[in-house]
Symmetry: C2
Subunit: 362 residues, 2 copies
Amino acid sequence: MPAKPDIRAVIMAGGSGTRFWPLSRRKTPKQFLPIVSDRTMLEETARRIFPLVPPRRIYTIANAAQTRTIRRLLPRLPAGNFLVEPEARNTAPSLILATARIFLENPKAVIAVLPSDHLIADGAVFLKKMAAAAAAAAAEDALITFGIPPTFPSTGYGYIHYRKGAARKFLGEPFYEVEEFQEKPSTEKAVGFLRDGGYAWNSGMFFWRADVFAGKLERFAPEFHAAWTRMLAALRSGSRSQVASVFSGIPAISIDYALMEKARGVRMAEGNFGWSDVGAWSSLADIWARDPAGHAVKGAVATVDARNCVVFNPGRLTALIGVEDLVIVNTKDALLVCRRDRDQSVKQVLELLAGTGKTDYL
Amino acid sequence: MPAKPDIRAVIMAGGSGTRFWPLSRRKTPKQFLPIVSDRTMLEETARRIFPLVPPRRIYTIANAAQTRTIRRLLPRLPAGNFLVEPEARNTAPSLILATARIFLENPKAVIAVLPSDHLIADGAVFLKKMAAAAAAAAAEDALITFGIPPTFPSTGYGYIHYRKGAARKFLGEPFYEVEEFQEKPSTEKAVGFLRDGGYAWNSGMFFWRADVFAGKLERFAPEFHAAWTRMLAALRSGSRSQVASVFSGIPAISIDYALMEKARGVRMAEGNFGWSDVGAWSSLADIWARDPAGHAVKGAVATVDARNCVVFNPGRLTALIGVEDLVIVNTKDALLVCRRDRDQSVKQVLELLAGTGKTDYL
């Protein structure tokens, strides 16, 4: 029986999005908001894995300003585990930095890369699958990922094409050979994926042993492996400016594009643990409990002839009369009233605000 | 040329309504709210007539709690002019009290009875007509009123039937003989009124000389004249409890029902001075300025594919996406989102709140 792997988690907490405006702002993106529960999504992400990964082995990576918020939300993590991105450069540079940092402590450590703004409804199943993924990553010369079984032909996610036949089991969980990563498809293509089977949504969650990651870079992304080597040297030197200099020399692209899509030896398990990326306000209609009239509500409501609204107005009363299928979000300084099928247009509102100098609301 | 009349104004400030919830509450009814302008409707009512009736000749009548608010809003009125209703008993008892009070100072004084929660868009025309009405009341043994030229067959107002042929002019303004007051009609009847002509909406504004009021009571409402005589005696005695006792003995009905509908010698001028009773939130769509998308707004808005909403959210931003014909009212503790044609259902919301013990919001 193999030794228990040294599992580390790197929580990617640096995202900035606009889709939960007006609750989310430049300074408080989605992961710092209590959207799906009374805790922030970042706290939920960390607390979910505590039984498998103790706080001292959890790292975060984000920019300096965000890291101040993260320290406050995750006080149990050691001060040295809050990794700071010298600048915003997408996920490839960040994950090279984080993996190199852990490699210097233990090249055989298994690293779980976790987005900080996804919902996992079934935490117990997730932990079980995560332990299996860590075991797979520890044992194999492979990059491991979770693919989300698709429930509709979404054009908003990337897809993973995998071979259902070729599985290896770890802790009872099958890990399939990945054929190919697919970028966000057209509707036609997406419909084809679901019809054909063997396709899953790219969850953005990855598991790799630090030394395996380095080896895959060397074979499938040599340009990035050169950066990796320089990053190790910079970290060993202890010079923050040298780290920043190496970081800013790495192409600002995603790890999917830099490595996952190019590498061979990638395996995938099915992530059927109640995943949602909680993409916009309307998605909360399927996440929060609904009342008998179909309203999903944070706060108190009094309704007359109203149906199927998503209401975020905690601590206040919302009265709805004769309306349906609205998203209503009330914050200290801004109120959003939006048709449910139009919540992607929040971006246009932000462009309007930026264009008219109302930057306080951004 | 007759002497300039001694004009007094009695502003009826005691109303309580629910139709502007959640801005209006039990403690702050419509007349105490800045709904049509940046001033409260009560302040607008008083300031509008200052050129004709100086503050020392303006009286208010309301209950004790409301009078505390009124004193704060109208600090230029003498302390003795804030008349307090011993209890809530509709307008007949209140106007007998107020008129008797002024009668004791000057029986020939002309009293203008004015609601405190109506919009008058054209203040200059109103003042001109008010001066004419005061002149008519001073010269004639008549009760004077304004009738609002109807713009649609409303079933929400009482109507005044008047004889277009028989007019007397005062200050150039024709005052028609009133045939009859009509209660709120059926739609069929209202349509008939507009077709026939000679009908106007009852504005609730009245002008009478104090001694003429007493004489009309004597001839057309003897039960109320007995109360009038007792009220004069109680006021002369200076005993507040005696006034309260007389007051509570007067039937709790409106002055329309007690006197106006029964009296002969009633004259009416056309009140075409941009009147609105501002009956509910949706009426503000015709009162506030509208932006190019048809929104009537207090506060800032940013809109995408939205039309014809009424938004009250001062000091905050409201973003509207893909919605139309909504009423949106945001206050410190409660938010209303309502279809524009359903704003009368606010009452049902209040019943719901009362029924579920959420009385803080009433």
